[in-house]
């Protein structure tokens, strides 16, 4: 089982763009994307149910950062491959998918590859499906319930109006929605064990992928502007009677 994880800047801190490159600043400490914690948990649960197997991680970062990977290792993943290369900055989603697909192949492939539906910082939302296409695998995106029965993958896939029941042969790739399972908190023992788990660091050229970064992207940033801000409204402390303010507001708009 292989889980694709992303290490992102802490979402609690305000995001910023690097003025020189117009890319999201990812130079500080990176954490495990919350969206990916669900995939890691799902993989660990499926391995438990299967009674054997191992969860590996693949990730890509421009600066050799592993703190987010260590969180996933502390949850119970066995090992990781980090593709780290300053040339990766500015890579588009397709290049990212090529890198991760090559890292998955380097690990020898998997019965099931898990990703999140989208990351919490870049949220392009195409990488898992692109990886499946690159590896020639079937895929089920937006999985909200997952089981493996008799070697067949069964997924409830989120749709606009409900969900579809989907079956799929293995090997396959799925992207899981947030809330699909409750991610475990790493135990103290897990955190200690994670420190000695192997994380192999490779470059894009080790994987035979060039060009990467801006050179490989079929796009360039042409401008960045501030959107027109909404006018600040009236903010009032509730004194027990503020509901009348809301009633008045609705009356003014003639909806009541």
């Amino acid at each position: 089982m292989i889980v694709c994880v992303k290490q992102i800047p802490d979402p609690a801190a305000p995001g910023a763009l690097d003025g020189a490159t117009n890319t999201l600043k990812r130079d500080g400490k990176l954490i495990l994307d919350d969206s990916d914690a669900y995939g890691v948990e799902m993989a660990l649960q499926l391995v438990d149910k299967a009674g054997g197997g191992e969860v590996s991680l693949v990730s890509m970062a421009p600066n050799g950062e592993t703190s987010g990977l260590r969180t996933a290792l502390a949850m119970g993943a066995a090992r990781g491959v980090l593709v780290s290369d300053s040339a990766l900055q500015g890579s588009d989603a397709l290049t990212t998918a090529k890198i991760l697909a090559a890292a998955i192949t380097r690990l020898g492939g998997a019965d099931l590859i898990i990703g999140a539906t989208e990351s919490s910082d870049g949220y392009t939302g195409t990488v898992p499906e692109q990886i499946a296409e690159l590896l020639g695998l079937p895929s089920v995106t937006f999985a909200k319930k997952v089981s493996v029965e008799g070697g067949v993958l069964k997924v409830n896939r989120q749709t606009e109006n409900g969900y579809d029941e989907v079956t799929c042969a293995l090997p396959a790739l799925i992207s899981v929605t947030a809330g699909v399972v409750e991610p475990r908190y790493p135990s103290f023992k897990g955190i200690m064990a994670a420190k000695s788990k192997p994380v192999e660091e490779v470059t894009a050229s080790d994987l035979g992928i060039t060009p990467v970064g801006w050179a490989g992207a079929g796009q360039k940033i042409s401008s960045i502007t501030q959107a027109e801000a909404r006018q600040a409204g009236e903010i009032i402390e509730d004194d027990g009677e503020t509901f009348t303010k809301i009633v008045g507001f609705l009356e003014n708009l003639k909806v009541i």
């Binding site: 939302g125 606009e160 079956t167 809330g179 796009q219 009032i236 009633v247 507001f249 708009l253």
Partner: protein, 320 residues
């Protein structure tokens, strides 16, 4: 450059093209007179697709296969056959994302998602993507040769009929997909909702974590019903299992632009704001006066939703 040939990934729900489809067709025909709609299934909706600007329809009947892999393979075969689009526009939703991701690999072309606008100027084709909850707009220009692949958020454009004739339908068969085609839909489940649809309602009342517990969501439903609006939710309480996913407003849920949006117990995470910032009037109730939601509210009540909502509901009921 000039966009001579634009494809739009169209979708049909309950027998009619979706609103996102009509929005994209309207925009596409302003950029080119040669617009093709791609549809999964048959060409039954060709009249409406033509009315909104499509001159041609490629209908891909993918059966029980998930559309992503099947439609992408069919489109690749059309492109290999000599009909090469300059631009393919996708709606930012499940099927759109799957098809464009698969196709981007087959064509070895980049994809740009989450856009709200597109222009075709002397410098090339440029799309606009809001980031940081919509506070910053990034304009990105495609480089190299097309086809350019871009996905657009719902309600980025206003759908207008062009009064065009029915589009000509060409059936496109799905090539052998091999192992990649093994995902099959075996059953479809629809979560029933009553009242107006969330993304079409004139009034939306949404609840979040501040409600405290799932049972209190009844306050949101009561208020929405009184105002003849639709109930919505933040991702936090959808993830917590209080309400179905179909209630979710935000980046990964529905994008709403109602006349009135009332957010109760929602702090205003970027993920949520992206889905509701376009509302004409925003009312927010939250006990934390530093909550980001107050930055976009026209009327903000710093208070306890458990106190304010019941009184508001009583007052509205008293009016009959």
């Amino acid at each position: 450059m000039t966009l001579n040939n634009i494809w739009v990934f169209a979708q049909v729900a309950n027998g009619a093209p979706t609103s996102s489809t009509l929005e994209l067709l309207t925009k596409a025909r302003s950029l080119s007179s040669n617009v093709t709609a791609i549809i999964g299934g048959d060409g039954a909706s060709a009249a409406v697709l033509g009315e909104f600007g499509a001159t041609k329809v490629y209908a891909v009947n993918h059966g029980a296969s998930l559309p992503g892999v099947a439609i992408a393979a069919a489109l690749k075969s059309v492109i290999d056959g000599g009909d090469t689009p300059d631009l393919i526009m996708f709606p930012q939703n499940y099927e759109g994302r799957d098809v464009m991701s698969r196709l981007s690999v087959k064509l070895d072309k980049t994809v740009i998602t989450n856009n709200v606008d597109i222009t075709d100027g002397g410098d090339g084709v440029t799309v606009v993507t809001p980031i940081f909850g919509g506070n910053t707009l990034v304009a990105t220009t495609f480089t190299g040769a097309g086809p350019f692949l871009a996905a657009f958020r719902p309600k980025s454009f206003v759908a207008e009929s062009a009064g065009g004739p029915a589009a000509a339908v060409t059936a496109v068969s799905v090539p052998d997909l091999g192992a990649a085609g093994s995902a099959q839909v075996i059953a479809v489940h629809v979560e029933e909702t009553t009242g107006p649809k969330l993304d079409e309602a004139d009034i939306v009342v949404s609840g979040g974590r501040g409600l405290g517990e799932a049972a209190n969501y009844a306050l949101i439903e009561d208020l929405a019903k009184l105002l003849k609006g639709a109930p919505g939710a933040s991702r936090a309480i959808v993830d917590a299992g209080w309400v179905p996913y179909s209630y979710q407003v935000g980046q990964t849920g529905k994008v709403v632009k109602p006349t009135i949006y009332l957010a109760a117990g929602i702090s205003g995470a970027t993920q949520h704001m992206v889905g509701m910032k376009g509302s004409k009037n925003i009312i927010a109730i939250n006990k934390d006066k530093e909550a980001p939601i107050f930055g976009v509210a026209d009327l903000g009540i710093v208070g306890d939703v458990h106190k304010v909502l019941p009184k508001l509901i009583e007052a509205l009921k008293a009016r009959g």
